[in-house]
């Protein structure tokens, strides 16, 4: 999708840069820049913005970030392999709509939730089959299913809302751990984060995802079943998005077909801000989580100082662009500087 097609991975340094290995020691772990930035921002905001560091506010902030971080987990893996799934937010919407419809039909939530998760898996499998079996570009496929799944959500529930979910479930969805203000749901989220992080960074499968992202042909020749791996990643994205749909419905206490519209862009923004290359092959989970938190914190802090909601969009967009332009510029500067030295020897 870019003009320049030289494969770069300025953030992770996972590609060996065409044989110029010596600069390795200087590369920081993926995502460390954005994490540092996040920590700095949190410190500054806590000092400068009144009410930012309160437990109440932290709780709200985390609640806002939960679904984005959740969906970012499988989507990061997909982006690392060089594919993309833009249909995740529509899967959230369709799951929410189906959940509402089934609840309206009188089924218990204990039955509904597994059904919805399976549905999410099926939706993901459709994406996966179209991409891996028919060899269609995932960008185009998931723009198609973005419209298709959202359309189905409206077919299922129309413009109605189902809102009479049991109190116990909806209060659980927003309740905090003791008096800390940290939402209860952060715990299962962290478990999923841990599983994904280990899978991505410490298993052969995780390494194979980077291999695919850097060169699909090379990955295939080295014995990786590229199609099967990608298929299951899309299924995972479907299931996790459905889980996100269930949580979204409970958190807002309302099942609607238009739930989470446009969320895919926020998730993708968090992933890219976190230093994952849109071409695949580089980036890590730490950066993505930091990216998601940074986006949410900046918006939250600006809201607290009464910056109009409109400006937040400008900040989000600018952050995203700066995040991708900055490494390019530094890489370009680094490339220019050592001209005199015999680097190519």
């Amino acid at each position: 999708m870019a003009v320049d097609t030289t494969p770069q991975s300025p953030v992770a340094g996972s590609a060996a840069g065409g044989g110029r290995a010596p600069r390795r020691p200087l590369t920081l772990p993926s995502g460390s820049v954005i994490t540092t930035f996040l920590v700095l921002f949190l410190v500054v905001a806590s000092v400068a913005v009144e009410g930012f560091a309160s437990t109440r506010n932290a709780g709200f902030l985390l609640l806002d970030v939960v679904v984005i971080a959740l969906i970012a987990l499988p989507l990061t893996l997909i982006v690392v392999t060089g594919e993309i799934d833009l249909s995740v937010a529509s899967t959230v919407g369709l799951s929410s709509a189906v959940m509402g419809k089934l609840w309206f039909a009188g089924l218990p939530l204990e039955t509904i939730i597994p059904v919805v998760l399976v549905l999410g898996g099926v939706l993901g499998a459709v994406n996966g089959l179209l991409v891996t079996r028919l060899g269609l570009p995932s960008l185009a496929v998931t723009i198609g299913t973005l419209a298709f799944y959202r359309g189905l959500a409206f077919v299922v529930l129309g413009d109605q809302a189902v809102a009479d979910f049991p109190r116990a479930w909806t209060t659980w969805a927003i309740s905090g751990i003791g008096a800390t203000g940290v939402p209860v749901v952060v715990v299962p989220l962290l478990v999923l984060v841990a599983i994904t992080a280990v899978a991505l960074h410490a298993t052969p499968i995780g390494r194979s995802l980077y291999a695919m992202g850097n060169s699909e042909d090379a990955a295939r020749f080295s014995g990786i079943d590229v199609a099967r791996t990608k298929f299951w990643l899309f299924v995972a994205a479907g299931v996790i998005s459905a889980l996100g749909g269930v949580y979204w419905t409970l958190r807002y206490g309302s099942a609607r077909a238009d739930n989470a519209t446009g969320l895919e862009l926020q998730v993708v923004a968090a992933i890219l801000l976190g230093g994952v290359s849109i071409f695949g092959g580089s980036g890590g989970l730490l950066g993505v989580l930091a990216g998601a938190l940074l986006l949410a914190s900046v918006r939250n802090a600006l809201q607290l100082v009464n910056v109009p909601a409109d400006v937040l969009n400008i900040v989000t967009g600018a952050l995203l662009i700066v995040a991708v332009v900055a490494p390019q510029v530094t890489a370009e500067l680094r490339r220019r500087r050592p001209r005199g030295r015999p680097a190519a020897a």
Binding site: A2, R133, G158, A269, D310, V324
Partner: protein, 374 residues
């Protein structure tokens, strides 16, 4: 978006055996875009494919219209058709610009926000200076769009950042700018009553019964189609999209061409913004939200390959017309309008699957021909 962006040249050279389904479209796209290489007969074959592809959309469109008319004869009533053409014209103008960008293996997701910004700008301009000639307003809207396109294109071409990411960023930024502008002036909504009659007349104006907005869209498509087909720089856009490295090596100023594509696309999104203002006459800062997906969808349905190098603006225009017709036909067919998005989504997937099949078949035939020929 993936490894296929990495080295199109090598994958293209490798080709794909027809038996084992090859992974992606652009493998064969260079042949589509540079027919000269495959000889005159190969080029005729490619040309026929493009024509068949466009006739296919036209056939789908006609089928849809025939079925709808059979169910509800009033579908083809004058007013209904005029409404349809009016709605289609805005999407068509956007799709024409987007086609130019997609052909270069880029994408512009910010067009919905550019449309909103331009619509608001032209509305504001008219409120403050109601006596301005309509032409000036149109040019002002296009200038706003071109400026946005220049920003997108400059970041993409100079900083060499993937356009998907850049325009995702500016999608937010331009929309934010729009809202910021509206809230700082306190004019959150512009109503029909605020706009001068001369401008409002544009929305309903007709020549020989045909809405002027639609004629503008047709003119845009024809000019763009002629340019892409005939001009050297237009052909170079296809070359860039097929194989950026090869294009650069053969001396095509890739950065400048891509920048131009973004500026033209921005200007057309700006024009679409003015058309939007003229058509709907009630403007707030949400105008055009989510349009980017329909625009990309129109281009893809119209046979423009999402990874560049092939497709025509006529196809994209037909795609836009088809998507709009689906939207208006469904209620007439007695179907819930909620089915529209689902139908659009299914259509996109069907279209790319069809393109994939056609491209594979074409590649196989071209290869067979070359083997026999030499």
């Amino acid at each position: 978006m993936s490894e296929r962006t990495g080295s199109p040249v090598s994958t293209a050279a490798q080709g794909s055996p027809p038996s084992a389904p090859a992974p992606h479209l652009p493998d064969v796209a260079p042949e589509l875009a540079a027919p000269e290489r495959s000889g005159r007969r190969g080029s005729a074959l490619v040309h026929r494919l493009v024509v068949v592809r466009e006739l296919g959309i036209l056939a789908a469109l006609l089928l849809l219209v025939v079925v709808t008319v059979a169910v509800n004869p009033r579908f083809l009533s004058g007013q209904n058709v005029r409404d349809l053409l009016l709605s289609a014209s805005i999407l068509t103008v956007l799709a024409a610009g987007q086609t130019m960008v997609i052909i270069t293996r880029n994408v512009d997701l910010s067009v919905g926000s550019v449309l909103g910004l331009s619509a608001y700008a032209s509305g504001t301009l008219l409120v403050t200076a109601p006596d301005l000639p309509v032409v000036v307003v149109v040019l002002a809207g296009m200038a706003v769009g071109a400026a946005c396109g220049l920003l997108n294109g400059a970041i993409v071409a100079v900083a060499k950042v993937p356009s998907l990411v850049v325009t995702l960023g500016t999608l937010y930024a331009f929309r934010g700018l729009d809202s910021l502008w509206a809230s700082s002036t306190g004019r959150l909504q512009i109503n029909a009553a605020d706009l001068p009659a001369s401008f409002k007349a544009l929305g309903g104006a007709r020549v020989l019964g045909v809405p002027v907005l639609f004629l503008i869209a047709v003119a845009v498509v024809l000019v763009m189609g002629y340019y892409l087909r005939t001009y050297r720089s237009g052909r170079e856009l296809y070359g860039i999209g097929s194989a950026p490295d090869a294009a650069r090596l053969s001396g095509i100023p890739v950065g400048r061409r891509v920048l131009t594509a973004f500026v033209v696309n921005g200007a057309l999104a700006g024009l679409a913004g003015v058309l939007y203002a003229a058509r709907f006459q009630t403007l707030d800062t949400t105008a055009g939200t989510g349009q980017e997906l329909f625009v990309v969808a129109a281009a893809v349905v119209g046979g423009v390959a999402i990874f560049g190098g092939s497709g025509s603006v006529y196809g994209a225009a037909l795609g836009a017309l088809l998507l709009t017709t689906i939207g208006t036909a469904l209620p007439q067919l007695g179907l819930d309008p909620f089915w529209r998005d689902a139908a659009v989504g299914a259509l996109i997937i069907a279209a790319i699957a069809l393109d994939r099949t056609l491209t594979l078949r074409l590649a196989a035939r071209l290869r067979g021909r070359n083997v026999r020929g030499s």
